[in-house]
Symmetry: C2
Subunit: 316 residues, 2 copies
């Protein structure tokens, strides 16, 4: 592997000058500059990032800690993150971890020294004590239970989105609206449930426990829950699924049971995945700007990094 010394030798210059040219630091004559650029290019020199980070104590890498995410979401959030990261000359070190506290701590430890900051997605409601994670480096919580004002955090407007969708349903005249809930310990799920109940109450409807069914964000769960809802006496006229996968599962169950959608039963989802509009009938769904969310998380993180973690925390 060719090092800066090799380049210096070949160009008959000192390593300091080579370094100055390559980092555009300090004054160098135009001629030397050209020469060194040419030599470095020809020799295909690439600085050793380890050596660099050793002396500068910056890695130009961001850690991303993901839970066991499936489907669309994952891709989109990473796309957004990578875009912003690349624009700022940063790389992305991605790792999946158990959503519990131990898993996250282990993962963060493993990233120590490799990254300048971490975006943590820890949707698990129980992972309470994330607070005392070894936060010498900036951390941004994404779609996780916000922790006071000590850590930057960014969440989907779950409650608001759910509330608006359910209010839309009530405004259409629905009185009995069921919900297929997301995973029990999931933060997003809990917030969507909250929005659902809030909307009902504001419409003067008392939430009915028999219309709140368990789910885990999979098509299968949506399917099962929908079948059960059909068996409920005093059947609902609308189903709000906490995500699109479950909504699609529910649609499938309704179809098989010969229910007319939306005449006999309306169905709404959350996430607005691309194929929602290719369902029959098109699934109305709460839009989530996933990609943008990733981008903003990285933006927030970079802000924390440039301010050496000594900045006003945000919570959005």
């Amino acid at each position: 592997m060719v090092t800066i010394k090799d380049v210096a030798r070949e160009a008959k210059m000192s390593v300091a000058t080579v370094s100055r040219v390559l980092n555009a630091s300090g004054p160098v004559s135009d001629e030397t500059q050209r020469l060194i650029r040419e030599v470095a290019g020809r020799m295909r020199y690439v600085p050793h990032s380890g050596a660099r980070s050793l002396i500068t104590s910056r890695t130009e890498t961001l850690g991303v800690l993901l839970p066991d995410l499936y489907g669309e979401f994952f891709s989109e959030v990473i796309r957004g993150m990578d875009d912003t990261a690349q624009k700022n000359g940063f790389h992305l070190l991605i790792s999946r971890a158990y959503a519990d506290r131990h898993g996250i701590e282990t993962a963060i430890r493993a990233m120590r020294g490799r990254v300048d900051g971490v975006v943590v997605m820890s949707p698990d409601l129980d992972a309470k004590s994330l607070l005392d994670l070894p936060s010498t480096i900036p951390v941004v919580l994404l779609c996780s239970v916000p922790r006071g004002n000590e850590i930057d955090s960014l969440t989907i407007q779950n409650c608001r989105g759910a509330k608006e969708m359910v209010t839309h349903l009530t405004s259409l005249g629905h009185k009995r609206i069921a919900i297929i809930k997301g995973s029990a310990r999931n933060y997003d799920a809990a917030e969507r449930l909250r929005g659902y109940r809030m909307a009902l109450r504001e419409a003067g409807i008392t939430p009915d426990p028999s219309l709140e069914r368990e789910g885990d964000f999979t098509e299968a769960a949506g399917y099962t829950a929908a079948l059960k809802l059909l068996a409920v006496k005093n059947r609902p006229t609308a189903i709000f699924a906490a995500n699109d996968s479950m909504a699609i599962g529910a649609l499938s169950a309704l179809r098989q049971s010969g229910m007319a959608v939306p005449e006999e039963m309306a169905v709404a989802g959350f996430d607005d995945i691309p194929l929602a509009r290719y369902m029959d009938p098109p699934l109305s769904s709460v839009h989530v700007p996933i990609c943008e969310l990733g981008a903003r998380a990285v933006g927030l993180l970079l802000h924390g990094i440039t301010h050496k973690n000594d900045h006003a925390r945000r919570r959005e």
Copy 2:
């Protein structure tokens, strides 16, 4: 940040001994071992990976170069990769890049010195000269045009899968089977098309150009293509979409046109995404073990790394 020196000082030992304990290299007395472990733990010491990689010239990190991928695929492939990587103590540095040659080369350059090897997904048919990528480090091509026997490569069994599906359709009696093709310059798409034609020929059917419609793997493309197919004189009785998204778009178009599926028109897809079976009727689709594919790619890469890139190349 606490360094190995701090630990050594605190434990009243030399840095060499501390290093030996932490790397389980060389002989150390049990007592010293315990002591150092305790001190290191208490001080929350984490080795500086840069310094380590400087001297060992290993980063314990794998690069992953992804094209502009959407949806399920992305998530799954990364899941598989990360699993295998973590099991072997490796991290994943992920980057999206333009699929063309320049984009890939730039991205690989940027990763130089940060990774011990790279998995490259470059589905673009035109990115021919990937051969001369700066391959001092091991490279595995995933779902890309294989390059002779000079680079390890791993692909989906596109041709075989497509062929089997189309053969299944002919065996059901279909004579006029249309295909909605994937992106024009995409390797997977080209292979699926090849399999489709192969199956037709083996069934004694001459591929009809008017039944081969352009597509780009999106629902919208499937929708449009299906509408056009309905307008073809001597209409097909089956549609094979090169992926599930397009199949779903096509289903939507057929439904809106009042076609009975599968009675009047059969539809098949490729990828077997989870919700395929929740379509109406359930979409039959060629299964692709995406997660496993990622795992195998990383396995192959790790093999190349341990053999210092001096191993028999594989092409699967």
